[in-house]
């Protein structure tokens, strides 16, 4: 049985626009999303801002009612069995809100331990354990207001796993954390999986998703546009290889000609100061470097490199495809 | 429109919006209008409990005092609220005429204060049967305006202090507490210990309240003119000191980078 199951989940927000004359406005944030996450899996949700990731997570963690569709976590319905679900899951949002600033980290944890029913003797031991795990041991008696962004994020994670939940939801847990700190957080997340937990993660960092996730769903405008292991995603979309060509002053016509070449699946142009970088995705059957260059006849060409597609290439192809 | 005039009004409207981001009437009416009325009622009944003074004595005192609440808090928040939204240094970075800028901020606060006091009277009239000759209303309105002006001056001073300290609400609370006790709002001045009585002479509101009470009883403006002049002088003094202090702190704040300290 899948640990997390989403079946045709939909969520529409009703808000108003305008300050003087309020007009009702409906935002279809999630439009029929289905996926399943198995025990012990680290599942990633990727997607542009406003794609509906947070909305999806909030429905799964019982904080938001779906407009239609169904979701179960560990077999419990997220609408009707909210308490059962809440008891068994942990969740962590990125950002530095959500803590009692004037209390110590220890008190923050003690409070939530009690709310999650971790009490008595077990409580102290468990709090020590999670503090150790997130690397805040020794700083726990300081007030949170003096904590750095990274420390707050660790504290959030500590809070999220206090009650040893079977499933952990992480919504952009490394946002705003410095590279070293983010790497440590990733190790922490990988360790969660090592201890048998199931994790659902959202992030905007592709290398992070690539490094951590067993499986990924890419969401754009409220629907899933691609799903699979990172390897599958890379293979499906790019089909094979990526050729990067540095050019100086390429025009639209030349880019159009490149797109016309048999075997080229996508061409994107990135501006870099005076030069541009052409990222050409091709199928792997043929070696296309020569035809590409011949179409660029007359354009000053710099460095040319051919590489394996990254998850980012796959992601960009998925979310830009109309 | 002249630039300084525009700044005056725009600054004013912005500060007013910051002050009542909840400007919707459904909220403004209960808080700003219920407040003075319930205060008037409370102290009038407290006066009955103590067998101290007549209901109208309390109606006048508290209605005028409620103007000070509005003026003090309004001025403080107009400045402090701005720092909250981190716009203060942006505003100060403009070459706008400083006097127009800050006085523009004071104007809506002043008007609001006067309206607040007026509702106190209305509440007293409706619920406690407070009566005064209709012919005295213009004179009373003038006194109210003067009281609000004097308190706005004090508010300018506390607001200026707020430029330096984070605790504007605390300062505003303390100031209000002092005004409530010292200025003869609820305790006749002659029942106060001597030093309090003497201090009251130098606070805004003391003289307006005294004048307002006499006007409510039918006295002419002329007969209370010395009180009114004194109040005007006090208000001007506070305003100027507050304004000077604000400019001083502004310069200093630029130097020390404390303007937007959140």
């Amino acid at each position: 049985m899948a640990v997390i199951e989403a079946i045709e989940l939909r969520r529409t927000y009703r808000t108003t626009t305008g300050v003087i004359r309020r007009k009702p406005l409906e935002v279809e944030a999630v439009r029929g999303i289905s996926f399943a996450v198995e025990q012990g899996e680290l599942f990633g949700l990727l997607g542009p801002n406003g794609a509906g990731k947070t909305t999806t997570i909030k429905m799964l963690i019982t904080l938001l009612l779906p407009t239609s569709g169904e979701a179960r976590v560990l077999g419990h319905n997220v609408v009707d069995d909210a308490r059962e679900v809440r008891q068994r899951i942990g969740y962590v949002f990125g950002g530095d809100r959500g803590l009692y600033e004037r209390l110590s980290a220890y008190d923050n944890l003690r409070y939530f331990a009690e709310l999650y029913g971790v009490s008595g003797k077990a409580q102290r031991a468990r709090i020590d354990e999670v503090l150790e795990l997130v690397g805040l041991k020794g700083r726990e008696s300081e007030r949170v207001e003096g904590y750095s962004r990274g420390m707050r994020q660790r504290l959030h994670i500590a809070r999220g796993i206090l009650h040893d939940p079977e499933v952990v939801f992480l919504d952009e847990p490394t946002i705003g954390v410095d590279p070293v700190g983010a790497r440590e957080l990733r190790t922490l997340i990988a360790n969660l999986i090592a201890t048998g937990k199931t994790v659902l993660l959202t992030t905007h960092y592709m290398f992070e998703a690539d490094a951590l996730c067993d499986r990924i769903a890419v969401i754009a405008k409220g629907t899933i546009v691609g799903e699979g292991t990172p390897t599958q995603l890379k293979a499906n979309v790019a089909g094979g290889r990526v050729t990067e060509i540095e050019v100086f002053g390429v025009d639209d016509a030349a880019v159009g000609r490149l797109r016309g070449i048999d075997g080229v699946t996508a061409v994107t142009v990135e501006d870099r100061d005076q030069k541009q970088l052409l990222i050409v995705q091709t199928t792997s059957e043929r070696e296309l470097t020569a035809p590409l260059l011949s179409e660029l006849d007359g354009v000053e060409v710099g460095r040319v490199a051919s590489r394996e597609p990254t998850l980012e290439d796959a992601y960009v192809a998925l979310v830009t495809a109309e | 429109m002249k630039t300084w005039l525009r700044i005056f009004f725009v600054g004013g409207v912005i500060s007013f919006r910051a002050l009542f981001s909840w400007i919707r009437p459904s909220i403004y009416i209960p808080t700003m209008l219920l407040g003075p009325t319930t205060q008037v009622l409370f102290f009038a009944y407290l006066g009955r409990t103590a067998h101290l003074k007549s209901d109208s004595w309390f109606v006048v005192g508290n209605a005028v005092q409620s103007a000070s609440v509005a003026a003090l808090f309004g001025m403080g928040f107009a400045i402090d609220g701005e720092r909250w939204t981190q716009t203060l240094s942006a505003v100060l970075a403009t070459p706008a005429n400083r006097a127009a800028l800050f006085l523009g901020r004071a104007l809506p606060v002043l008007v609001n204060a006067a309206v607040t006091a007026a509702t106190g009277f209305l509440g007293g009239a409706l619920l406690l049967g407070f009566r005064m000759p209709w012919s005295q209303v213009p004179a009373l309105a003038l006194v109210l305006l003067l009281a609000s002006f004097a308190c706005t001056g004090l508010g300018m001073l506390t607001g200026a202090v707020g430029l330096r300290m984070r605790d504007v609400p605390i300062i505003a609370n303390l100031t209000m507490a002092v005004l409530l006790i010292f200025c003869g709002v609820n305790i006749p001045l002659d029942k106060l210990p001597g030093w309090m009585h003497r201090t009251a002479d130098w606070l805004p509101m003391t003289h307006s309240i005294a004048a307002a009470r006499r006007i409510a009883e039918g006295a002419s403006l002329r007969s209370v003119s010395s009180e009114l002049l004194r109040e005007l002088a006090l208000g001007l003094t506070y305003l100027l000191v507050g304004f000077g202090l604000m400019r001083f702190f502004e310069q200093e704040g630029r130097r020390l980078g404390t303007l937007d300290r959140a």
Binding site: G98 | I27, L34, F42, H51
Partner: protein
Amino acid sequence: MTRGARVFWTGFVLHFKNLSASPFMMVTAAIWPLVYATLAFLMFRATHQAPSLLYAALGAAVMGIWSTTATSAGGAIQQQRWLGILELLVGTPARLILVLAPITVAIAGIGVYSIATTLLWGRLLFGVPIHVLHPFLFAVAIPAAVLSIGMLGLVLASSFVLYRSASNLSQALEYPIWLITGMLIPLSLLPGWVHPLAWALAPTWGMRAVRRAAIGGDVGVPLLVCAALTVAYTVLAFLLLHHFERLARDRATLALT
């Protein structure tokens, strides 16, 4: 202790700690009761027909409990939302009322500081004798008053979170409740139609219990009524919060984003 009691107690202790660390909360909780005590002392002292100064000191002290409740408890749920904590709290398996009640009760509890300060202030500046007739009953009456007033605060908080346009009413409730619950003004001075209203409000009975424990009179009845009102408010808050949670999950109003 049962789990519910533990959740309540831990929450109360931590929120009390959190509030005590807020300078604004502490200063306002300390200043205003002293201001009203001073006003009452000076007013009562000016005539010979007024109640005693101890009566005034106790009244001002309990006014302080209501004051913190009116100014802070009404917006307590909003406050948690602004802190970004509301959804974390709702997301726990604990019952919402057990999570939120400690907050408003702790807010009322901050008012207890004012009992100490007003009595001391009165003693030092106005020579008011601190004479408590039944210290034990006094010690029971204070928590009873705090608990019932705090639960009234929760009723306010949960109504205001549902009817947001009313939420600024909370502060406007300060004077009216002081006026009609016999803090400084005997109920007998007020018109008859006010009495039933006063009887339904915890501050009336909390005040009575505290004052009678100190000055004399039957404490049992006010204490019992306090307890009964606490139960009634709890039921009311439970229903309101139940409704709120469902509505908030539906309308996505738990978080600010």
